[in-house]
Amino acid sequence: MSPILQGLITIVVGVGGCLGYFWLSNLLVDRVIFPARGPRIAQNIRRANAIRPWLFLLPAMLALGLYLVYPVIGSFIRSLYNRSGTEFIGLDNYSRLARSEDFRTAFLNNFLWVLVVPAASTFLGLVVAQLTDRLRWGSVAKSLIFMPMAISFVGASLIWKFVYTQDPDIGLLNAIRVGLGAAPLDPLQLPFWNNFFLMVILIWIQTGFAMVILSAALRGIPEETIEAAILDGANPFQVFFRIKVPQIMGTIVVVWTTITILVLKVFDIVYTMTGGNYGTEILPSYMMTFMFRDDGVATAVAFVIMLVVLPVMVWNIRQAHKEMR
């Protein structure tokens, strides 16, 4: 069988099986187990409706449970054991981290990343979404700004090497510096600021994401509210900040949260650009230095990462609760 055919069949089976489950299970509940007819029709409908959410949720819960909850619990237990996983050492891995200077650097840098990257990406995304909204070539502009999203992190790191490299015959930034009469330097070796040069890469990638979601939200704003404001004499800036932004606040929060979470997972950029040297280590790449060597410490770092986002998570959960009421 040719690989193409094989691929097609597996695709049909996989996707079809998934859709078939939802259709068949609903059919089963509605027609066979609790048919909406006969003497106990009211009770049957009630029961069917009580069961249906769980039918809808079952595959997702199974997948989440197996692929995320189970490893998380397993990992937490692992983080309480020593290097080879043979001896229970309680919280020693965590206290070891607390004592490590590298870890503190990674932690502080990560804090910077979480502050800067989501804020910058969301802000730029919002600006682009608004500016291109009524532009004739807006969709072209949007596509071009979205493009970095299509690039793998490793590819992106390579792209930015052509910007940052110290050799002014390869790195654009240093070519400009030399053109202005300054000596070339390696931006990734500048203490403290190098973190920001690395963040620029992720902002460059994520602005497209923010832009796409936010421009959908902007289009969703009812025209009447905007027209009313314009009639009241509001200038474009007032319309944007007083009318539009508050209305899409929910979406902004979603985008912000999503990027925050991404920031806490992406190790590739730091890993390939500086290998964590020159004081640019962040927690995910710090974790990679322990992966497959000392899984106890690696998992402990992972849990610290989860603790870092806890406030964002709690806030999101509260928000979700509020909406439901």
Binding site: R83, S84, R96, S100, E101, T165, Q166, D167, L185, D186, L188, Q189, Y271, T272, T274, G275, G276, N277, Y278, M288, T289, F290, M291, F292, R293, D294
Partner: protein
């Protein structure tokens, strides 16, 4: 007898089918290869119908080379051989052993990782007598046995690794024509090398190209420098104790070796692009400076593999990274090597280890490129170039041979703290505090 054997080997190669019908690079029976060893091996082993899987760090051209050697094994035994190389071999093999999906044989570039896996019970000890064979047939056999012997899961020591393909590290590459034009002589001692370095600066040139960049592994080339300088300032015994951390990393003797490296790498005038370029230049790009006009640098210290990254038809040669005339330490040589270990036992896997003990297995690769071997029985006329032959001579004539220390240290140090420590050092931190930082990491993992 011979012809019959050849016939059967050829027939086997045909039967075994397309999956390994890779042409044998050198026709059996032609040239000065030890064909007798091949025929004897073919007569004694038959693995028809078996599949042997291997994984290792060699990709691209290197993968072709190892396949050309494995093709002879396939032809001799009828086994089907599949080699898969990976850039991230270290990570992949750990995943594979944890998932019980390991291939039959893994080729380790670092004894440290092999020792780790042996302790977890992921490796099978080599057949009895393999150790004795290495002792008898390899130059400095004892050191190769020691480097391949690890503690198993129960703590009992056994020989797990068979070394095949050695790299030589104590080499300085240069362009003979650039040297000739400028009137420089090959330095015979470390003192001469220092003098030459200063001479080049006085002449308005830049002596060294040093590049430590290697993605996530940035810093490793500097560890080779420090190791070489350790061997040139301290006795081999001190080196061994350093490797096992019996002497702490922040001992003055080690700090001194780091500072010896700093003499070269931390002087703005001595290195191409200045010291900030040292840390960021990719080690593969770094030697290009030797071959530009005007020369961006005159010397580049790197292992025997580096010509792969030279431009085509580069005018390059090497000299031995010299030792101090005033110190009585002989001519120490730093090297590294890859070792074959069995990750999933099978008769064919054992068979391959036996095949590696035939001179032919070494000759096939050495007749092509980039291969050095401590095996005394090979026909050294077969080396593809004089350069390689000279390197092999350095290897065989070494008064002291020591294995790359960073490969022997625990992963967190040898492939972690030592690398990043060296980057910190070349970018300005002082040697003492770098060494203390590395020692602190080492204390943590004990």
């Amino acid at each position: 007898m011979n012809t019959r054997m050849l016939g059967s080997a050829a027939a086997l190669a045909l039967i075994a089918g397309a999956s390994h019908a890779q042409d044998l690079r050198f026709p059996v029976g032609e040239g000065d290869f030890n064909w007798q060893s091949y025929e004897d091996f073919a007569a004694a082993h038959d693995f028809s119908g078996e599949t042997l899987t291997l994984t290792g760090p060699w990709t691209g051209a290197d993968a072709e080379l190892v396949n050309s050697m494995l093709a002879y094994f396939a032809a001799a035994t009828g086994a089907e051989v599949q080699y898969n190389g990976s850039e991230s071999f270290e990570q992949d093999i750990v995943i594979a052993t944890q998932a019980n999906s390991a291939p039959n044989i893994a080729v380790f570039p670092q004894p440290g990782l092999a020792a780790d896996l042996a302790a977890r019970g992921a490796l099978t000890p080599l057949a009895e007598g393999t150790g004795d064979w290495v002792l008898e047939n390899y130059a400095a056999g004892q050191s190769w046995v020691d480097l391949g012997t690890y503690a198993g899961p129960e703590g009992d020591e056994a020989l797990y690794g068979f070394f095949y393909k050695i790299d030589l590290k104590s080499l300085v590459w240069y362009s003979p024509e650039a040297f000739e034009e400028a009137g420089y002589d090959i330095p015979e001692s470390m003192e001469d090398l220092h003098a030459l370095t200063e001479q080049i600066v006085a002449d308005g040139g830049t002596p060294w190209c040093i590049g430590l960049g290697s993605g996530a592994a940035t810093g490793w080339p500097a560890t080779d420098w420090v190791e070489d300088l350790m061997l040139r300032t301290q006795t081999p015994e001190v080196y061994d104790q350093w490797v096992t951390n019996e002497i702490p990393f922040d001992d003055p003797r080690i700090v001194n070796a780091i500072e010896e490296f700093g003499w070269f790498a931390r002087n703005e005038d001595f290195v191409n692009g200045g010291t900030s370029a040292v840390a960021s230049t990719d080690f593969r790009d770094s030697p290009q400076g030797l071959f530009s006009f005007p020369p961006e640098c005159y010397m580049h210290r790197q292992a025997s593999f580096i010509p792969t990254f030279f431009p085509d038809d580069a005018d390059a040669d090497f000299f031995y990274f010299p030792s101090y005339a005033e110190q009585d330490l002989g001519n120490p040589v730093l090297g590294a090597g890859t070792l074959f270990a069995i990750t999933a036992d099978s008769p064919a896997a054992q068979g391959l280890i036996a095949f590696l003990q035939t001179p032919l297995a070494h000759e096939v690769w050495m007749a092509q490129s980039g291969f050095l071997t401590p095996y005394g029985a090979v026909n050294t006329d077969l080396f593809a170039s004089d350069t390689q032959r000279q390197m092999n001579e350095i290897l065989l004539n070494a008064t002291t041979f020591r294995f790359d220390a960073s490969d022997l240290m625990p992963g967190e140090i040898g492939a972690g703290a030592f690398w990043t420590g060296m980057v910190d050092y070349v970018t300005g931190e002082d040697a003492q505090s770098v060494a203390e930082g590395i020692q602190a990491r080492w204390d943590e993992i004990r």
